[in-house]
């Protein structure tokens, strides 16, 4: 599927992407002084655009503090976006109010990273999974418990554990509960915010398999946020690489991993340990100062770490533009 971030939302429903994000911005104010006036802002998410189709997975990858989680939270409305447009199933979300907003919320769910803090320790699994149904008055109250049990089975939990509390489950099981909760409202899109990074490898594989299975069965789309290139590679159809609030490269998975275009993507791939002791990278100890969102370099934010950087990179911010092979890259030199 060719990508064009600058294209307007398409009119025809079947060809239009399910979710279209344009120039999303999340800025946090910096306050100072006696009266705590706003003296500036942290541009945590600084003009992010992408599209997501039905039953598709977009991997959003980047290092800590690059704004990938903030993007996910802003899309699910958990923190306010300060700019940009989100179109969901052909409708502008920013304009939605009341019931429409609630419906949008219903169709867009989130799974969190830490399976320990994402479940209320004082509620049983049944309570946790029933809550979405109760809030949106879905189904007859008497049937809701049945729905809960069905969902538990679907995500691989034993229904007889419905009365148990989160602390009685292992990390992997908790993550299943988190996924079940997100699925209760039958969403079209699930934002997966580092859903497996707190898990052991063996359990991580269980959850990744589960997510893959669910997508196949339910046709749900994922915005899959992770810092782990391997995990992203496994699950995604397309991958977007973020650096300091911006997408620097967006491409089909195979293309991206086979031949990274942006120097940053290249650096990420080159820093990931190989799994073959005979093919070691031979990392070097060289150190560098990594800028943060509060102190963003001018022009291309990556220029301070980029081997290709020139004067132009300092003065002129490279736009994210489509290349001949269909991928989008924000670099003056690649």
């Amino acid at each position: 599927m060719p990508l064009d971030a600058t294209a307007p939302p398409a009119g025809a429903a079947d060809t239009a992407p399910l979710l279209s994000v344009e120039d999303l911005q999340v800025h946090f104010p910096i306050r100072a002084g006696v009266f705590q006036r706003q003296v500036g802002s942290v541009r945590a998410v600084d003009g992010v655009s992408f599209q997501l189709g039905r039953a598709e997975t977009l991997g959003l990858v980047g290092e800590s503090g690059c704004g990938k989680s903030t993007t996910g939270l802003a899309l699910t409305g958990l923190i306010p976006a300060t700019g940009g447009a989100v179109t969901f199933d052909g409708a502008r979300v920013g304009a939605a109010r009341g019931r429409d907003l609630a419906r949008y919320r219903q169709r867009m769910q989130i799974v969190f990273q830490d399976p320990f803090s994402s479940l209320n320790p004082r509620q049983s699994v049944r309570d946790i999974l029933r809550a979405p149904l109760d809030i949106h008055s879905i189904g007859a109250p008497a049937e809701r418990n049945e729905q809960v049990l069905a969902m538990m089975r679907r995500v691989g939990l034993r229904p007889d554990q419905a009365g148990n509390y989160p602390h009685q489950f292992s990390g992997g099981q908790r993550q299943r509960i988190g996924i079940a909760r997100a699925l209760m409202l039958g969403p079209d899109v699930i934002v997966c915010d580092e859903p497996v990074s707190a898990l052991d490898v063996s359990v991580q594989a269980q959850i990744l398999n589960l997510l893959a299975d669910l997508q196949e069965e339910l046709g749900v789309a994922y915005l899959f946020i992770s810092h782990d290139l391997g995990v992203v590679e496994y699950l995604s159809h397309k991958v977007a690489v973020m650096y300091l609030g911006k997408i620097v490269e967006l491409a089909e998975k195979a293309d991206l991993f086979a031949a990274p275009r942006h120097p940053y993507t290249e650096l990420l791939l080159g820093s990931t340990p190989s799994l073959d002791p005979r093919k070691r990278h031979g990392f070097t100890a060289q150190s560098e100062t990594v800028p943060s969102a509060t102190h963003k370099p001018s022009g291309c934010a990556f220029r301070t770490r980029c081997p290709l950087a020139t004067d132009r990179c300092a003065s002129e911010e490279p736009p994210l533009v489509p290349r001949e092979d269909g991928r989008l890259v924000a670099c003056h030199h690649r």
Partner: protein, 295 residues
């Protein structure tokens, strides 16, 4: 799908194994619970455990020490001290419970609202809290009792005015941290209203500190009540309040120390009991104490 649920019974078994022995091993908790329970039971069953009429005076026998007839001796009117202390427990505990319950409710609501909504609501409520914190507590209590007059409910009310702030501050800070917890975000993601979030998600998780504060608060309330009686602002006689007994007792401390010692000890033991209970609960409810040593 794989059988991921398999180890759960093990986990549950382990949990039980950890919890009970821990609760039972904690000597302060047990002592606190026993003392508190005893005091509350004595208060409830005062008519059955009291051996003498509360107001039966016997001036020739005033200040008699403990004896078979008067287990804890007699007071300044020759009344049976044991019976009066038992009935006094009723008053002290009732006042303490009313004061603590009301403080906890008021403080919790304010803390929840301030912590969850933040912004100017928070600013306003916390400034209000600061105002009440800025008073020396005893001055405020005295002033309030002077306004409303002495009486069981009034004394309790005056204690509420100085103690709700503590709950507000604690609940606010737990709310602030809970607000950022993913399960609260998750509740928002599934569309829960603020009221539902506060009631279902935040409050149950704030109960630990509230319970701890409350049991410590019971002790404090009992001390405050006795201080009020000491200064003459407590319940009027012949109410057998501990504060009066101690207050009278201290006047006769030099010649007839029994009354002072026994009433003081009654207050101390009770406060100690509630404090131990509160501390024990704090340890028990603290999640850090529940996890087992990691490898």
């Amino acid at each position: 799908m794989t059988d991921a649920a398999q180890p759960a019974p093990q986990a549950a078994r382990a949990r039980r194994r950890i919890r009970w022995p821990k609760a039972l091993r904690s000597a302060p908790l047990i002592a606190g619970a026993l003392i508190s329970a005893t005091i509350i039971l004595l208060a409830i069953f005062a008519p059955f455990v009291a051996t003498h009429d509360l107001t039966q005076m016997d001036m020739p026998n005033r200040f008699s020490g403990p004896s078979a007839e008067h287990w804890l001796g007699t007071d300044n009117f020759g009344r049976d001290l044991w019976s009066r202390l038992v009935y006094g427990a009723r008053i002290s505990v009732t006042i303490a419970i009313i004061a603590v319950t009301l403080s906890a409710i008021i403080g919790t609501v304010i803390g929840l609202v301030a912590g969850y909504f933040g912004g100017w609501v928070d600013l306003l409520l916390m400034r209000l809290t600061d105002i009440f914190l800025g008073f020396p507590p005893l001055v405020l209590v005295l002033a309030v009792v002077a306004v409303v007059g002495p009486g069981l409910l009034n004394v309790a009310l005056s204690l509420v005015i100085v103690s709700w702030t503590e709950y507000a501050r604690v609940v606010r800070s737990t709310t602030l941290s809970l607000r950022e917890q993913n399960f609260v975000l998750a509740a928002r993601a599934i569309g829960a209203s603020p009221a539902r979030i506060l009631w279902r998600e935040v409050l149950p998780n704030s109960l630990g500190p509230i319970i701890v504060l409350a049991s410590l608060g019971l002790g404090t309330a009992i001390i405050w009540e006795s201080a009020l009686s000491f200064l003459g602002f407590g319940l009027p006689p012949p109410a057998p309040t501990w504060g009066w007994s101690l207050s009278y007792g201290t006047r006769f401390m030099r010649e007839d120390p029994w009354m002072s010692i026994i009433s003081g000890a009654a207050i101390m033991v009770t406060v100690l009991g509630f404090n131990l209970l509160g501390d024990g609960l704090r340890d028990l409810l603290d999640p850090r104490h529940q996890t087992r040593g990691k490898s």
